[in-house]
Symmetry: C2
Subunit: 145 residues, 2 copies
DNA sequence: TAACACCTTCGGCCCACTCGAAGGCAACTG
DNA sequence: CAGTTGCCTTCGAGTGGGCCGAAGGTGTTA
């Protein structure tokens, strides 16, 4: 199967700009052109693009990805370095997931907190005014980022 | 307690450049200066900074964070919008964690694969040559990104 | 009194896109 | 068969979110 740049962009969920950027920077070495000079992508190109997207979205700089893809093309003797690169990326990604999970806790707390305030305020009509006042104070106290 | 910009940078694990950037862009409205014009950070500033870092690292643009912090300062009537923002950020973060976990699977596969190759090659000395040839072919086949 | 360590502001630089302009080619439409 | 649509191309400029260096101030230690 072969695909246009737009089809690939949709399938990979990235922009055509990014794909051209990767291609222009030598990271998609097997992409062909049709008779109108349009890029045509085969399944192997999609595999390359998939690993590019994976490495980029886990924070590897383009320059390192270029280097990694060069290593792949140099053959077997570069496996040790490739192993090290992937191992480092694994660690980095585990750390990033961990950080995000911690940030998520903070965000969850905010969501729950604001939800509380909204529910209590909806109930204001049925709440004695001294309690409403207390809530008012809660809101004030909680007016922090 | 009060802290210098460097202490804060170390504690929050971000650069002093970033902190100044956030301050210069109005996201740390309560930071004071000492008699030499140096920024001094109190605990409340750290709380603000903590939420800034949390939102930035989960992908919220600076402009949105500014808006969120404005809402906080406007008081109680902005809680519904703040709730929506945090809810959106929660979803976004869950998605990002999910994406990262998928990328991690790809990376894990690479790590395992390269580890296999390395282990087999170390054992080459003890392996009959026809098997070594087969491995050779494996390596060739796997010479993909 | 000088060296060192920290801070300031200002302005340029960087990465990885992102987008617009200007134009080419192919296919459908009136 | 001119025109419009819709895709593609290249090139070059712009953007976000910092990063960093220069130039200079202050203050403490030796």
């Amino acid at each position: 199967m072969s695909y246009t740049i737009q089809e690939v962009a949709k399938q990979m969920n990235i922009s055509t700009y990014s794909i051209r950027y990767y291609h222009d920077h030598g990271m998609l070495p097997f992409v062909k052109r049709d008779e109108n000079n349009n890029r045509i992508f085969e399944d192997t190109d999609l595999e390359w693009l998939h690993i590019i997207v994976c490495l980029r979205q886990t924070g590897m700089p383009v320059e390192r990805i270029q280097h990694y893809l060069d290593l792949v093309q140099e053959g077997e003797q570069t496996v040790p370095e490739r192993y090290d690169m992937m191992k480092a990326q694994q660690t980095r990604t585990l750390n990033e997931i961990n950080d995000l999970q911690n940030h998520l806790k903070t965000i969850n707390y905010k969501v729950d907190h604001y939800a509380d305030i909204l529910i209590n305020h909806k109930a204001d009509n049925f709440v004695p005014s001294n309690l409403a006042e207390a809530q008012q104070q809660d809101v004030y106290q909680e007016n922090q980022p």
